[in-house]
Symmetry: C2
Subunit: 204 residues, 2 copies
Amino acid sequence: MAGKLTKLVDIRRRELRQAAFEVLQREGMAGATLEKVAAHAGASKGIVLHYFRNKQELFEQAMREANANLRDAVAERLRRAKTPRERIAAVVDGNFDPRFYQPEIAHAWLALCAEVPREPQLARIQAVIHARMHSNLMSALRLLMPAEAARRTALLISGLIDGLWLRHGLQSGGVPRTEALTLMYDFIDRRLAEEAGRDQSPEA
Amino acid sequence: MAGKLTKLVDIRRRELRQAAFEVLQREGMAGATLEKVAAHAGASKGIVLHYFRNKQELFEQAMREANANLRDAVAERLRRAKTPRERIAAVVDGNFDPRFYQPEIAHAWLALCAEVPREPQLARIQAVIHARMHSNLMSALRLLMPAEAARRTALLISGLIDGLWLRHGLQSGGVPRTEALTLMYDFIDRRLAEEAGRDQSPEA
DNA sequence: TCAAGAATTGTCCCATTGGTCAATCTTTGA
DNA sequence: TCAAAGATTGACCAATGGGACAATTCTTGA
């Protein structure tokens, strides 16, 4: 977690990735110019292209880092989870970690997602994110219900997470963290209860 | 529905809105240049600024039109709906109308949504969309369950719709129309059944 | 028929931006 | 100590895009 970053290269790169992501939050992809990113990091434009081949690579790395943050938030909780239900909760809670579930961060994600159709690199990262979430959910749901039900439930959960994040990035209709969690568990717990019952009494 | 568009002004504006939206689908907001929009409409750049004050206004109108399409798709079904359950289905089916639930269209929406944080005009349209969907859902759900349950269910349904649309715009994880509907009704019908039972037997 | 107004085009301008590069300053290790 | 490698800067460039505008063509109604 607290990896060493002694080498100047790594430090600078991290600073610039971070700056890029923060500028992205308020300026969007088109507005996030190299000069603004550099300025926000307290450096000159030249330095950005010294550490990154070009603008695309910079924002690809920025997305990678943001993704890693979310991944760690989930992984950490996943480590403490014992029951399947706790594993599901780890995924949900991780994706609504108060450190990351913020409108500004959602803005940046939105800007990144909007580029996915034209930026294969970003598309790959996005694919990894989805695959990981689906896999995490399935590994738990598989133990609680039949395969097809598990698949559907996983899609519903991850779709719901995406939808709530999306809305959080738009001005209106955004639900705060606690309510988002209420909604998520409202859905999840009912479904788990249903499937638990259905499990042993497969009648109409 | 088939309103008259005899006036040349209206025809041109509609053509250009349409062209703008289509260019947006494959080029994104930054790539959707006035020249490309004009070319795609078979006209010159000058004409675009003859009919629209500037780029923002053009894409604002493009978003308005796309929104109107979705609104009509729902309204049409809503007109035929009699029961609350049918009204909910109208909202859902309308939002997954095969004419509009397509990856390319989702790309354009994504590009538009990404601008919302910095474009008050787009934010207003977005707010209208959300408010309308919420209102449509609530008017039906209110009759089927207590206020708070209705509110949550409405948020879950609309969040789910948004999430599935978002994924449809990203390369991976996108579910086709029929499966999206399966997922939606999987969730909705279970919930309606639960609340119907709970309605008359308010025990644990 | 013809003049006024609208439609349409192409050109021009200016600001911006990604990217290159040579020139400096700093660090470091031998 | 000093030279090589790396860090950093600022100037520069070519491309692009939004927008203004004058010029030209087309419509239309009196």
